[in-house]
Assembly symmetry: C2
Homo-oligomer: 716 residues x 2
């Protein structure tokens, strides 16, 4: 099989040949095992054994100390092998790996799996070794998987280039994992469950080949319908996101993100920073990339089972057929928790069910065909229900009662599956008598779950994937802004080595990006302040202005609702005195005088820059909603209008903006606009490491909003 070019469509700054090389890992004509060992139990022996067991290409052992292994002639080095080598598997001590890579490069090997451990995972020395390997590979145009991995498997050609015991059955699910040990567990589990895979990859340290490469490759792989992944961390988050976003419109990507203790690595002086823990970042990233997030390995494969065997439900309306009330109730509960709806049947469906079901049966959803239902009754009822336009998917629940025809019912459902293209799921509850039925379902690609909740959660995951897939993909709005002015403010600040902008400057930046700000002025003296207050009109707010005081309210550095000159002058002096008392070291610029906004609701828009994913934007209602209830939403920038709207609607307290109990509706459009303008700002100026508009004062619908305070911090 010729390597086929992949990934052309959504190439992101990576040379085509680097991606094309990925196919050679899975479809090599010849494989060399460098470090193949004669001694049983050694990894180099296991891998060689695994490779020669079923794979039909050439397999060459390389080991200078052996003349043959299992009757295969052993080569002393890669260059002495006659003929080209498509794939090398390296199982030698780490310190020899760089020189072997060099040899491979010279010999023309372009795809290598490095099983050997002893690299970055062991510390600084190992990291250097890994870097060295990477540089040699790049020099020769070599792509490599690992180091420190279990290897790879392709079920199609029974290539087992790993030290895993067995090749799983053929299937249409591809799996990749950062944890090699998890691979061994999943392979063992797959064997017990007879779960098939298309390709199976242990990624190890991901020095070169990453999730992103495999996503691009599997997008084009006709043998893979569903991509699954176990992820602990992503090195190049942006690129991963872009590729995943593209791939997920074609094939579902289901991923577990494990580990959630990276927050410490980032700046956390802002609310956004504090709240933007790794869990929130990955949740936002996955959502925006259309990746289905699974919380456990169990749910990962529950979802994969659904996605890989059934068409995607086109909506949230589900019909349940059951031969028992209790499990019907449980399924209904699960629907409610999963935010799915029980279908309202059409008149024809109700009439149809009335005709075929006994009087005591429940003909409304969930449909109870009763405990004495034989396979025929199940079949007729399911056929009627699945034809209803108000039904997006069907879950058939079966409890093994005295008269229940388990196998026949499974067969009857399989007949329906053959002719109807609407998603259908089963829940044959039990683990002994129901097994023959479950086998039949499996053979006819009807996914079975042992309890209703797992089926319902799978349907939910599929529906959500469908919903995001059909959602129109809009480009972020491009506003006309005064970019030069911002550049000028930033340049001036940096020239003075000021990385936290003054409030006046921060508001100036917003202003340049079309975000309305309160009228404000920095006053060095009380007299100057009161003149300005006369100009903009009382009441006004006074705030201490100092590059060293970030949280002004914490030191009592804010006075609101100043009504006249006397009050202003007194407050001015008090503010200065307090600041000097609380923070004697602080450099104080003066007092910021600004107009008071009334009759508006306070919201916060914040930004934090993540080393992997770039700028993360946060939205929440002001004050305690953010600080105590942590009721906020996140997206990775740039955000478009839809995403801005989602951010507003995602918080629990969003009803407060929509106007309830006699309150007026807030200008949500203005919030969404401001979110997008901020997104554009940080996209234009990646050096912004943190910013907060806190509060953005939002008026009633149609009346806009105004930023009353802002902080911006600059980095590299």
């Amino acid at each position: 099989m010729e390597p086929k070019p992949v990934g052309e469509k959504y190439q992101i700054d990576r040379p085509l040949e680097k991606v094309a090389a990925i196919d050679q890992f899975f479809n090599p004509r010849s494989v060399a095992v460098i470090g193949a060992a004669r001694e049983e139990g050694k990894v180099g022996h296991v891998i060689f054994d695994n490779l020669i067991r079923e794979f039909s290409g050439y397999v060459y052992p390389v080991n200078p100390k052996a003349s043959s292994i299992h009757s295969h002639k052993c080569y002393s080095d890669i260059s002495s092998i006659p003929g080209p080598i498509d794939l090398a598997v390296v199982v030698i001590p780490s310190k020899f790996v760089p020189s072997i890579l060099e040899e491979c490069g010279v010999a023309g090997v372009r795809s290598i799996v490095i099983i050997s451990a002893g690299f970055k995972e062991t510390g600084i020395e190992g990291a250097h070794l890994e870097q060295e390997a990477l540089e040699i590979a790049e020099k020769h145009g070599i792509r490599f998987i690992g180091p420190n991995c279990l290897g790879i498997i392709n079920t199609r050609n029974e290539l087992n280039a790993s030290f895993a015991a067995a090749v799983p059955e053929k299937g249409n699910i591809a799996f990749m994992s950062q944890s090699g040990a998890l691979c061994t567990s999943i392979l063992d589990w797959a064997k017990g469950e007879r779960q098939g895979f298309s390709k199976f990859v242990s990624l190890g340290n991901k020095a070169d080949v990453s999730e992103t490469d495999l996503l691009q490759y599997w997008r084009e792989d006709n043998l893979t319908d569903v991509i699954t992944s176990y992820i602990e961390g992503i090195k190049n988050g942006r690129e991963f996101l872009e590729v995943a976003r593209e791939v997920s419109t074609k094939k579902p990507i289901i991923a577990i993100k494990a580990g959630s203790t990276e927050a410490g690595a980032r700046a956390v002086s802002s609310h956004t920073g504090t709240l933007a823990g790794s869990e929130n970042i990955y949740s936002a990233a996955f959502r925006q990339a259309g990746i289905v997030k699974a919380d456990t390995v169990e749910s990962l494969f529950d979802y994969a089972l659904g996605f890989s065997n059934q068409p995607t439900p086109k909506g949230r309306k589900i019909a349940i057929v059951t031969n028992a009330g209790g499990p019907g109730v449980m399924a209904t509960d699960a629907c409610e928790r999963a935010d799915l709806q029980l279908s309202q049947f059409s008149f024809e469906t109700i009439e149809g069910l009335k005709k075929i079901l006994p009087d005591e049966a429940s003909i409304y959803n969930p449909v109870d065909v009763l405990g004495d239902a034989l396979s025929g009754r199940y079949k007729e009822a399911t056929e009627i229900i699945i034809a209803d336009k108000n039904v997006d998917s069907v879950l058939v629940v079966l409890t093994p009662q005295a008269m229940t025809e388990i196998k026949e019912t499974a067969k009857a459902l399989s007949e329906i599956r053959k002719v109807v293209d609407k998603p259908m799921f089963a829940c044959f509850m039990g683990k002994s008598a129901v097994i023959p039925g479950i086998e039949i379902l499996k053979n006819h690609r009807i996914p079975n779950y042992n309890f209703p909740e797992r089926a319902i959660n799978t349907i939910k995951a599929m529906v959500e994937w469908h919903e995001q897939k059909v959602k129109p993909k809009r480009k972020p709005t491009k506003y006309a802004v005064n970019r030069d002015k911002v550049q000028e403010i930033f340049d001036r600040s940096r020239s003075k080595r000021r990385f936290h902008l003054s409030e006046t400057h921060a508001l100036g930046v917003l202003d340049a990006y079309g975000i309305r700000t309160t009228k404000n002025k920095l006053a060095a003296e009380a007299r100057e302040a009161s003149d300005y207050a006369e100009e903009i009109g009382y009441p006004v707010a006074l705030k201490i202005a100092s590059p060293d005081i970030l949280h002004k309210s914490d030191i009592g550095g804010i006075r609101l609702n100043i009504k006249n000159r006397e009050e202003l002058e007194e407050s001015f002096e008090n503010l200065i005195q307090d600041a000097v008392r609380y923070m004697p070291e602080a450099h104080i610029w003066g007092i910021n005088v600004s107009e008071m906004i009334t009759g508006a609701r306070e919201v916060i828009i914040g930004v934090n820059r993540d080393p992997q994913f770039g700028h993360l934007i946060m939205f929440g209602l002001g004050g305690i909603y953010v600080e105590i209830l942590k009721d906020v939403s996140f997206r990775i920038t740039p955000v478009n209008k839809n995403e801005g709207e989602e951010m507003v609607n995602e918080i629990r307290s969003n009803l407060l903006l929509h106007g309830v109990r006699g309150q007026s509706r807030a200008d949500i459009e203005s919030i969404v606009g401001t979110i997008q303008r901020v997104s554009q700002l940080v996209t234009d100026f990646p050096e912004i490491v943190e910013m907060d508009i806190n509060p953005l004062m939002v008026f009633d619908s149609g009346k806009g909003s105004v930023a009353a305070d802002a902080r911006i911090s600059l980095g590299e």
Copy 2:
């Protein structure tokens, strides 16, 4: 075996003999099957077959139309059987059941399982039949299980008085279910999983024997260590609660509550009513009764596996031993989500681990013994860790890697289990190679879970059970109150057929129960109002007073912060006019004048009476916290001080009361006191169907609180 007296200790208005009779269901010396059938496939045949298969007592078929079944002489009626009958199983059409019960009563049978369907579940006629059966049973002192059930099983004596196919293995878990079909599924599942049970009961319609009876019985049953239950609804909630509260201090009760659409059945004109859906009521009830709530059948048995095999962890500190990083990360994530903590090891533990583990191993929690760990290394590490005082429980994770000794490791852990009495859980991940190891673990009562999350969630459930068990059980505080005054107010209202108390009366009730209320007076005329305002001092609040207007603010019936006589008189007239305009039919008493409270935080305390569980008390912060965020907590009354405190601390926004970001602390003691006084009020006056104190104005710590408005509605 002699029936033993049970349930004496916590008898709640039920005659002893009624409870004692329960044992006869499970340990009869003789059983009659009334409706035993010759025809294979018939339920009456299956049951008789099941009974004679293993059970060693006498079994008599009763059927006037047959002379013998399976070589057993068949009796035409119960009275013709020679010798006493301890248990009868009835499998005849429902209409004959009452007369058969009568015959049984005369013949001295005192325990009956009614399998027959066709009772309350079919409608009014069936309900009458069920009532008739119940009355006959009561007359004769008969206890019966069902009708409309699958039957019962006792694994100890292999009594299978059901039409389920097989008796599960012996075990120490008792199970009861309202759904018979779920029983068949669980039995089938148990067979596949080799899950043992002590007793297994399908409760059916629960006309007589209920969950409460079985809880009392199983409390005393030495063969049962864990009680599990599937519940859709509870008929006598109060009694169930009291019994469960007692039983759960001795044995864990784990229950699923299915179905959550009963809210419609109750009065929902108050916030409390709206929020007190069945899910909230049962959650509160389960928590107060110490019942472990499971959301799915899977978690029910996950928990049962832990409880039935291991001592309860005495705290939240968990240690993880793993041979792979990835699953260790997953377990850590699960701990974080479950609010468990990873133990901080003692110095000795760290030193000990250093000695026995390779340099590359992680000696901190989670402990990574590395992929090449043999059973010896697992054993030594686990022994050191489990001895650490900072460890409350240990989870051992194993992935089947190349060198992993699965069986030997299981054996090594079993050795530890024999000598150490600290809870230990395993997660041998996989489903094929790991199976022999899992079998060994099972035989040594080390619960194994295929993925870390399920193990962690089980540990969480066990810890929470332990925590509530050791919590001191306090009696509700008994306050000195003026009960007579309340009686008088209620009597007067009812005599006028007023079931919604006026605000003045409602506040009067609170006052009588020692809850401080705002000074207030009902004024029929503006002049009267302003005189009173002068007396209590401006500013004041005016509120429309009408028995027909429950939500005053919805029709603009409230004016706050009235500062002087002119303002008051104008507002007075406006309020009356508005009320007449919006609700021309409403009877208007006048205007309520009350003092304005400032500088206080608003909270709500509400009560709703549930037909099954009685009064449910709710707490939340005022306004949007209740209405939009639904951030409230519930308990069933009476509540003691601990429960009152829990209610306050349980809401998400509780930090707002504790004083954060420079705010002062609210008088939480006063809130807790008010909750308890309200609890005492509704306990003394069960006729209160709904009440709200909204708002209760809470001052700073030490300064008390005052009820600014209240509504009370009376029922029967």
